[in-house]
Each structure stands twice: as C-alpha cells, then as structure tokens.
Amino acid sequence: MSSLFTPLPTPATVPGWLTIRLERAALRLTDVGAPTTAREDWRYTRLGSRAPLSARPLPTARLATPSARIELTDGQWDTERSCVPAALVVTTLADAVARELPGITMLGGIADADEPSLLSSLSAFAGGLYVHIPAGRPEGGAVPLIELVVSATRAGSLHQRVLFVVDAGAQVCIVERHQGHPGAERLAVTEVAVGAGATVDHVRLGLSGWTGAETTAAAGLDLGTVAATIAAGGRFHSHIVSLGVGTTRTAVHATLHGAGAHAALRALSATPAGCSHDYYSVIDHAVPGATSAQTTKGLIADGGVASVVARVLIGRGAVGSSTTQSLKALLLGASAKANLKPQLEIDNDAVKAAHGAAVGRLDPLQLFFLQARGLDSATARALLIAGFVQEVADTIPNVALASEVVHYVLGGLGLPSGIGSDDLGSDDLGSDVEPS
C-alpha cells in the first residue's frame, strides 16, 4: 500500500505551471504521508492487513453501445482495444501537456486539497489519459456515451489518472468501470472540468475484484477520487456505485465555480461480508447562487461495513445557495454496520439547506405483504432491495446501464436479479397466450 503514496520524481521536461504543482504535491505528500484513520476524512478506511478474497465473476451483461470505448489495462492505455471517434480527443496526459491541449492546465488544479490520493496520483500523471469532449452533439442528437474500462490483471500497485475536459454547452455521459484482480491496489483519480452550461453525467462502477478469471489473492484496495469543477450554469451529476470486494474508498470533490452551477452527487453501495465501502464527498459552494444535492444508499450484508461522510461547504459569500442531503443505509444482517455522517458547514444565513440520515432494516410488514402475494422470502427481499436502490439507479441517464447496476447490486449480494426490472412496456403485447 505504501507505494501508492510515494511520490515519483518530477520529470525535467514539463512546463512551469506543472512543475510547481508537482513539487508542491510532492512536498505536501511528504508532509501528510499515507492516510490513516487518524485523519478525519479517512477515519473509516482501514488500509491494514486484509483477508484473502476470491474474484467475483464479471457479468456479461453490458450497456448500450457507447460512442467511445477507452481501455486502460494495468495502468496502460490499450489503444488496440479502444475505439474512439474522430470528434473526441483522447491521448496520454504527457502528450496533452506537451501539446498544450485545451484545458490541460486543469490537471492537478481541480481540487485544491491536501488529499493524499490526489497528491500522490499527480506525480504518476504521465501514463494517464486526457479526454476532450467538444461542444455540440453528434448527428442523431443522442448524448454521447463514453465508456472507460479500467482493468487490473495482476496484484500490486496501480495508478490511474484521467482528465476529462468538457467544453461549454457540451453534454456527455461518462461511464467508468474499475474491475479486475482482487489483489490489485489501485489509486485512481478522475478529474472533470465542466464548462459553462455543460451537462456531465459521470458513473463510476467500482467492480474491483470482479474478473473473468478465477483468482484468490490477499484483498486489494480500490481508492478512487473524482474531482470536478463546474462553471456557471454547468451541471455535474455523479453516480458512484461501489460493488467491489475488499476495501474500497471513493471520494468526490465537487466545486461549484459559477452562478447557477449544480452538482448532484449520488452514491450506491452493496457491501458483502468481510468488505468495507467508504464514500467521502465534499461539495464546495465557492460562489453565490449555486445548488447541490446528495443522495446515498447503502446495502450492507452481514459482516460488511459501509461508511458515508458527506460534506457541504457554503462560505460567507455563497449567498443564495441551496443544498439537500439524504443518506440512507439498509442493514441486511445482525452484524452489518453503517456509519453515516451528514456534515453541513454553512457560514451565511441566506441559504436553503436540508439533510437527513437513516439506518434501518427491511420492513417486516413490507416483506409480509409481498410474501402474502405468493413471493418467496428471497424474491421478496430482492424486490425490496431493488426498490431501495431504484431511486439512485433511476437517476442514471442510460436505462440499460441503470438496469445493469440493479442487476449487479442484487447479484453481488447473492440475491435473485431481474425481478424488479420493468420489462412490461405499455405496447409489449408480443404473445397471444391467454392465461388458463
């Protein structure tokens, strides 16, 4: 684990602005060191020794055909397996820095935090990817869907860094799949620069330990960070889905930089026995008149632990801000554990804010109701659990992907999947079979 937080030397050939950032990051990382539970923002993430875990079979179900598919395997861009249309600029961060591509100076500058993951990842930027999404829609008018598949084929430490630069007025849906070897220790940082009036849906599917190969290894780590800056009138919708085996921590830093900017952060986790899933979010209302909303839903199996710390920062000058928070966890066993911490830090009075947190178990009356209609216990539970996650899944703009997420969640918890899916379209009258 320690190698994840050891800064690499600053390359000699980078421009001045990046040299300053890299050197500052290296100094700060030396100062703060690898994260421990002594840090408030890492208090629920235990990075110590972990029991061996087996890989989970990767489902074959996939979402609708993406506009672009980018594969990163073991930290390297796999150009052979990637498919990128001409309208999209995809290249290595090193190349983007050298060519001074649009928005590249956002690299390492989106979240100004002493966050060890962000600091460490920056020094390993060279192998990362730069993706530029231009304004306007392609022919046909559909919102482009960019799929980024980040795979690990072996145990050991991995750095991945991606910068998405989304032009003003553009619309895009980005799906990241982080999957592969259960013994991999990953530190993955995604930065998103949302241009003025742009709309970005970002879905991060945390599937660490899900792989096509049968493998058992000392459980790895999946430390993911998504940092977004949102310009005036921009909309950033984050969907963090944590289904990994082992220890995972996903952090989202969203900074609202312009009036009318909006951030909606949603998180969904299904935590199996022996695993821990942590979600940490910070929304910074840096200007007046921005809005935000956070919804988290966690399902925790017996012996699992899920933690959520959701912060909102509204400074003295950020008048007219509006924010809501709803954090919920469903305990599926006697020894399941949830930590939910809504945290509003508001320094002015002209703000609308609401928050709520609830930890509970499946409602026995709802279970009885479903069983009294003939559904067996496992199916009734699966239906209620699918219902619990549906609120978040429904916010994913791609219907096929939303169904896939519910399917993964139920499958990951060993429950029958597909039961709650709505395959009954109003005109679906394909059969003439009458009930007898």
Partner: protein
C-alpha cells in the same frame, strides 16, 4: 364441503393471548362475515390465517382444503390459495407495481402447475382484469401503493385478488376509509369473484359493506372467540343493539 376449518385456535401476539379457542367452518362457495368490537381479535384472525410472523398459534389448527397451514410460510399459504386484502395496504416505495404483479401471478401459477405468463400475455390478462375493477392502467406504472389514495389502495388489493385467483379470500375491514362510490366498486369486484369453489371471509365493523357483499353466514367475534353465528339478520340486530349483549358462545 368445508374449504376452511379452524379448530380451537389460540393465538398470542408477544405475550398477549388474543384468540382463545376460536372455531370456524367455511364451506366452499360461501361468504362469511366476521363482526366484532375493537380489540376482539378480527385482524389477528386474518393474520393468523395468512401466516404473519409474530402471530403465534399456540394451540389448535387452521386447514385449507383439509391441509394444515400452520407449518407453511405466508408465501406458501398464498400459493395454496389464501389471499389477504389488507386493512391498510402497505406502501412499498421503489417497487414498481407491474413487475411485482407479474412476479406474484407467475409465482402462484407455477405453484398450480400452470405455465408462467410472458410479458405480453400478462399485459393482456392485466388489462382485462383492470377493467373489471375499474382501475386505470397508469396506476400499475407507479410504485406499489405509493401515493395511492385510500380508495385506490383498496381497489388495487382487489385487483391483486382478481389476478391471483385465490381459493380463499380474507377481506380485512376493506370498507375502512372508503366512500360509498369506492365501496360499491370494491364490492362489485368482490362479488364478481364469488364462485361455487371460492370462499370468502369478510371482516367488518359495519353493516354497510354487507349491504353490498351479502354474506351467507355472520359471526360475532368477541373476546377472542366466535360468540354467535347466524344469517344476515344478525347484522341488523348488532346494528341495533351493539355487541354488549353478546356474552357467551
């Protein structure tokens, strides 16, 4: 021939005995009404038959078609043909009504040895049944009972009853919260399901529901036992005199 047979039923909830020696026989094809004061054990009776956890049968037996239900879970009882229309149908946010209905119908059909319905066949069946209870299909696109009015919930329960085609139906205070028009619609739906093979137990406080669903036999449940049974004229007597005078079986 009796479809439902209840012998010397004792049920406790927590430590509290609620039913203390209840006996009931309902022949196939008959509708029986159970009336009684608050706290008499009417809902306990419905939950005990449907198999709700926490309603512990400490003595006696409940048989459907000669088979004891006591060792069966609520889902197994439902698949054998027991249907409980809830006094307060449960809201289940997030669970879409239509897939739920299809899953329930297919669970019951599978148990009966019938082919499961594919989406197309189910939709045809659903639409036909919706007409019979005068419900809009739009309701089935919403989450189960979520945001439904009181009347919609009750009619939705009757829709489920019609879809599942049970052998034995319990209507637990189905009239509560219904206006006269809604009660007529619900009663019409129930009456349409009366067949020589199907029996019903209608639990109610008031005469008005029984003006629409006319029972073959009326029972008075009081202090955990059936105290009196009679024909429909017993309802009028109860309306006139209350329950105080019913003091022993």
């Amino acid at each position: 021939m009796n479809l439902l047979e209840i012998d010397d039923l004792h049920v406790t909830v927590g430590e509290t005995p609620i039913l203390v020696g209840l006996n009931l026989r309902i022949p196939a094809g008959e509708v029986h009404a159970v009336m009684g004061p608050n706290g008499a054990g009417k809902s306990t009776l419905s939950y005990a038959v449907a198999g709700r956890e926490g309603y512990d049968v400490t003595k006696g037996d409940i048989r459907l078609g000669g088979e004891s239900l006591l060792a069966l879970g609520p889902d197994e009882r439902a698949r054998r043909g027991v249907f409980l229309a809830f006094q307060y149908p449960v809201e289940v946010p997030g669970v879409r009504s239509k897939p739920f209905l299809r899953a329930a119908v297919n669970a019951v059909r599978k148990a009966r040895g019938q082919a499961e319905l594919d989406p197309g066949a189910f939709l045809k069946f659903l639409r036909k049944t919706l007409e019979s209870v005068r419900l809009d299909e739009a309701l089935t696109n919403r989450d189960l009972n979520s945001g439904f009015s009181g009347g919609e919930k009750k009619r939705f329960d009757i829709l489920q009853m019609a879809l599942l085609e049970p052998r034995f139906c319990i209507l637990d205070e189905t009239d509560s919260g219904l206006d006269i028009d809604a009660m007529r619609v619900v009663a019409d739906g129930v009456n349409a399901m009366r067949t020589p093979e199907r029996s019903m137990l209608v639990i109610t406080h008031y005469q008005r529901l029984l003006d629409y669903i006319v029972p073959d036999v009326v029972h008075v449940l009081k202090d955990g036992r059936i105290m009196r049974s009679g024909d429909k004229s017993l309802v009028a007597e109860l309306e006139a005199r209350g329950y105080e005078w019913v003091t022993s079986p």
